[in-house]
């Protein structure tokens, strides 16, 4: 039951949880707004990575790799090849969801950057502790 690949996959997931915790720490406790934006991008990327890992398929045998969800020889494909493709490809649904999430994350980050720039033009600082006028 316990195999080397299980251990390695656990290492990957544990590292991603660690990244998530570090990014959350950065968002909560770092006072500078630019650092908060950087931590936010890292958080989004890590969340996307979790979705990809959920859709991954382990190698069936040690030398038969799982394939990307793209049918290569689509002209005159036979039924057997199609069944083999279905039995070796990874899950395409998380990839499709993450694909749009990345582009929209970039658009939202651009919006946040404009917001930070406007704050700097108005208050002359980006440190949260110094922006007293935003309180109340």
């Amino acid at each position: 039951m316990i195999s080397l690949s299980t251990y390695l996959l656990t290492i990957i997931i544990t590292s991603m949880i660690m990244n998530l915790a570090l990014a959350l720490y950065g968002i909560f406790f770092k006072p500078h707004l630019t650092k908060k934006i950087i931590a936010l991008t890292i958080l989004g990327d890590t969340a996307n990575t979790f979705a990809i890992i959920v859709g991954y398929r382990r190698w069936v045998f040690s030398n038969t790799p799982s394939r990307p969800p793209v049918l290569v020889n689509y002209t005159n494909v036979s039924q057997e090849e199609l069944i083999k493709f279905v039995n070796t490809a990874v899950d395409p649904l998380p990839q499709a969801l993450v694909l749009t999430a990345i582009v929209i994350g970039l658009a939202v980050t651009l919006f946040l950057v404009f917001l930070a720039l406007q704050i700097y033009r108005l208050y002359g600082t980006l440190d949260v502790r110094e922006i007293k006028r935003l309180k109340g």
Binding site: N63, P65, R67, P68, V70, V72
Partner: protein
């Protein structure tokens, strides 16, 4: 030629690439100045592009090759941004 020969050759070459990437990453994390870090990322990513092509032959998946083209294009952009920042001019000019 038989495909298994190519595959086993790539398996023997793989550890050399991995040691090189680990050393590059150490320099990229450690580098005393920003320029050292960016230079290490630069060299690492071009080698990574070559490595991705080799791996796509290993996996027998020709469609994975598009990723290497995009990676080779974009690392150049990171160099340019840091250089522009170091020149101490405003970004649009």
């Amino acid at each position: 030629m038989d495909f298994s020969i190519i595959q086993s050759f790539i398996i023997y070459v793989l550890p050399i690439y991995m040691v090189a990437f680990v050393l590059y990453t150490i320099r990229a994390l450690k580098g005393p100045t920003i320029s050292d870090q960016v230079l290490a990322i630069d060299a690492m990513s071009y080698d990574l592009a070559a490595f991705l092509v080799v791996l796509s032959i290993f996996f027998k998946e020709p469609i994975l090759i598009g990723t290497a083209i995009v990676l080779a294009l974009w690392i150049y952009a990171l160099d340019i941004y840091i250089a522009k920042y170091l020149e101490k001019k405003e970004v649009g000019e």
